[in-house]
């Protein structure tokens, strides 16, 4: 169950990287960035996942008994939330840059947007 999460996450990251390397359309490159982000988010959520875990509510007696492994780790979820927000911002920024590039270069083909070379 958890293994498949990891496999899917790695596949998503690889897919994202592949899209960034191989697709010439700028919007597709941005989509690749998004896919890679989702892969990593999935990985982080899976790290905190716990089979049959409960919400992270515990009492003092649990701490004293060292019985702390029955709940899902909340920190990775917090990390994921933050990371999703950041990812969304980055994608928005990238798309706005694509719009400006389309206006100035009249194209969204990465092969033609190469005035800075050499």
């Amino acid at each position: 169950m958890i293994l498949i999460n990891y496999i899917v996450a790695i596949c998503l990251i690889a897919l994202g990287l592949y899209v960034m390397c191989a697709k010439r359309e700028l919007i597709k490159i941005v989509i690749g960035m998004g896919i890679m982000d989702y892969g990593i988010n999935m990985l982080i959520v899976s790290i905190g996942f716990h089979e049959n875990g409960t919400a992270p509510i515990y009492t003092l007696s649990d701490i004293i008994n060292g019985n702390l492994s029955f709940f899902v780790d909340p920190i990775p979820q917090a990390l994921t939330l933050t990371s999703i927000v950041i990812g969304a911002c980055v994608d928005a920024m990238a798309l706005s840059l694509v719009i400006m590039l389309k206006r100035r270069y009249k194209t969204t083909d990465a092969d033609e947007i190469r005035r800075l070379n050499g």
Partner: protein, 640 residues
Amino acid sequence: MSNFYVHFPVISVMGLFLAAFLVEIFGNKNKHVRYAISLIACLGAAAMTFYLIVPVFFRGEVISYWMGGWKPEGGYAFGIGYEIDGLGLFFGLLTALTFLMSVLFSRRYMERDGHLGHYYTLFLMLAGSVLGLVFTGDVFNLFIMIEIMTFASVALTAFRHGKHPEALEGAFKYLVLGSIGSSLFLLGVALLYLTTHTLNMAQIAALISSKGMQPTTLLAFGTMLAGLAVKSFVVPFHTPAADAYATAPASVSTLFSGMVNKAGIYGIIRLTYILFRTMDKESLMLLLSILGALTMFVGVTMALAQHDFKRLLAFHSISQIGYVLMAVGLGTNLGLYGGLFHAMNHTLFKGLLFLTAGAVYYATGTTNLDKLGGLAKRMPRTTACFLVGAFAISGIPPFNGFASKWIIYQAAYEKANLSGNFIYVIITVTALLVSVMTLASFIKVTGAVFFGQAPATLEKTKEVPFGMQLPMFIMSALCIACGLFYNQTIVYVVNPAVNAVTNPAKYVDTMMGEGYAFANGIGPQPTTFTSVSIWDPVFWLLLFVIVTCAVTLVAVSGARERGPVSLPEKTDSKHATFFGCEESLHSHVGGSDLFWGFKKDLKGYFKVMGNLHSGKTNDYALWVVIGVTLITLFTFVFLS
């Protein structure tokens, strides 16, 4: 209130972020208000950072601060902690100095642009994020700061897209490649959390030290290292740096080279020396040194082929970061001293050079080497500052670049001698050679921009206003002072940072409670600076001045016997440039014509490099993916 200064780091970071929003709210209309807010925020943050020198550098304290008072409980750190040791403060000082100079420069430099409210907002966010990055003691917080930094950098790169559409292109590449780097870093953080269940750097260091390296930890290390390498723009991740530095406004380029790529180097040092403590592995040293050597060579050779002032400086920035990485990667104390000192010097002289490039742009409206020329007569102060920067970066004694490079060469060759590995000899030779090539390409800039004959379009060029000269003067003075008094600089500024790096026990203890580090097997090992050989630039300069005085005295006393000096009064043919008997015309040897012989012999190499730097986002992404994969695989295979 004896230790009121523990609040300073957090106030300075938050103050910069707060000011960023205040500028956006109040400063969009009134230019005085927005500049006042930015200047006060920068001055305040810088002053607080500089104040921390007293407790951290002089008294050797490590300052810790828990956000919201969430102290560690039961041996686990839950809250976000800020922790300032010598290393963090060292880079914090460089950051503070850079944004202070840049904000002073920005007032006049940016006056012709619109939307300056946004500019200062992003500027302050960039400054705050880098300061937060070096002060934070939490890995995830580090990631957030990296993301804010990338975000602000990208937006600032594209700031002048109205006049220069290439800025958009540079920004887009920077964003795409930067996002790969930060995603990888996040991946590493997640993996690290999987094994240690904490995000606090001090605790991670202690736990890894006691548990040893597991495969997951190793993978985390590999991906984090690769991510930070992308952020510090080492080869093969350097391409977005060249594009972004070249197209951003010069004040922003100063920030980039002065603090953004230093942030990556800071991360690498923190990661390898303190967090994972993997610098005792020969293979990692080899990896970092080779990466560094490759970076400096590729950077400098690409710089030789450039036609744009700022793009050339950008490639030099990459090349100098290679020096720092190589020296730090040697894993010896001397290497650390050299590397950190060079990082500091790089901030000084490269910041200065970008400022002069900005001044040239301000005065002439272009940075194309083939269109400039003869500015020395029209902008004498800028020329003088540029020469200081150029000599410093080329390592001409007695400027600061020489002192740090000199230590780096010694460190590299000593490392070669200790390890018996011939690769380090090659690295040493490369480092020495790159220095000459740096000189060569700055000669090219000097000849193409400041000396020679001015084209007709630049006849009316005037010196930049004093507001722009002041930061250049300060940086030049610091360049000369750090070169002359390099021993004192090392003892008072670099030494605390090196001690913090080699002695992480205190870092862990301050955060997690006394004795925590020792319990997890981190012992103290303080270090002192010992150079292989001696050289006293002050003495040399003294002798230089004495002899110069003597020569001048002889010259003055013999002035009657000597031939007369004939100064040009107006344009007459006696003082015109000799042109093979013809009337002298405007003729200027542009930047692209220099080094013809050199380029012809290495035609193959330059052709390949030119093709590789194709400018296509996909190609660059491929470089990054290949590089990242190789680094991760290398660490995974050779470090276990």
